[in-house]
Assembly symmetry: C2
Homo-oligomer: 198 residues x 2
């Protein structure tokens, strides 16, 4: 699930929430799973991965990760990303484009101390996406961290990422492939709405 706080009342946010509520009513599994795609300018390489979106706070979409991870390095190198939901139980895809930034240290610390300790152990112990000898070493690091760290203190290499889309596409699949596609994009500080072909 995604937690909504003080959701923006601008049109694409309201449409987003309508689809989300329909997907929840349809008992969509893994509704918070979102594909985040980035470009690393130094490597000249696109990459993507699924993460769990935690919050939509007014206009900000927020998830958490390791700040030394490859995606964090890519965000530093090229701030613009794309984000993608697909909720098959209602056959809706939501495509977004945005710039991305880190949340504040205070925000991260506050969030961290209210998370489960089990999750915090991994956040502290894992050098995300770095090579390791074996999966057994992953488990050993995890257990060592559990025994030897204050699990309520957020490390400086872990925290939130926030993005506020400048582009939304709401794609509704149709059995005959006559999919409905509604685009909202910012033009002169306002949301322009257009319909695009399937």
């Amino acid at each position: 699930m995604i937690k909504f706080n003080n959701l923006s009342q601008e049109v694409p946010y309201l449409i987003f929430k309508e689809h989300y509520d329909r997907a929840m009513n349809a008992e969509q599994k893994n509704i918070e799973v979102i594909a985040i795609s980035s470009y690393n300018k130094e490597e000249a390489e696109v990459d993507s991965r699924f993460v769990n979106l935690k919050f939509i706070d007014h206009k900000q979409f927020i998830f958490f990760s390791n700040y030394n991870s490859p995606k964090s390095i890519a965000f530093d190198s090229h701030k613009q990303i794309s984000a993608l939901f697909y909720w098959p139980f209602i056959n809706v895809q939501i495509r977004m484009k945005s710039e991305i930034t880190k949340t504040s240290i205070e925000y991260n610390q506050e969030y961290f101390k209210n998370r489960s300790i089990a999750k915090n152990v991994l956040a502290i112990s894992s050098n995300q996406s770095q090579e390791i000898k074996s999966y057994e070493h992953v488990i050993r690091k995890y257990n060592d961290t559990m025994d030897n760290n204050d699990l309520l203190i957020c490390p400086d290499y872990w925290g939130g990422f926030s993005f506020t889309p400048y582009y939304f596409e709401f794609w509704e699949g149709n059995n005959s492939r006559l999919n409905k596609r509604d685009v909202y994009q910012i033009r002169d500080k306002n949301w322009e709405h257009i319909i695009i072909q399937p």
Copy 2:
């Protein structure tokens, strides 16, 4: 479903097929849905969208689309892409990176004439992702095309895209977040296998 033809027997392809078979046995819905992410160098913009993967032909992953679509223009501008499966029924994510190319005209024509006419109507009628006045205009174009075109002739603006990954990550989710992550990447023409941290 994805059709496998003469699948490569190299290790990451065999692992891919093992996960695929497990997901099929778990009755994974929408198993062919894959997120394809691209970078448009002129716009300096990452974008992504879900498509249906149709074939894995030896080492080539193949899907079909409009050759004038924004993704096709992005592929021309920057040939490297990422591709992402998530099969929640077995909690497996597969991440790939690759270069992408078009399939041949002959391949497209052969495929097109064996597809359903209903699908072909849309392939012919739609200027994919171009603005249109209304959804009613989409339906009207579709009906006009059905009445006035040879629906077995593949238009030159429609066909396949093929990619052969140089990088695979097999990510297996674990309830305690101690996810297993196995990476296969080409080094000196061979597949190197490493384990990375969750």
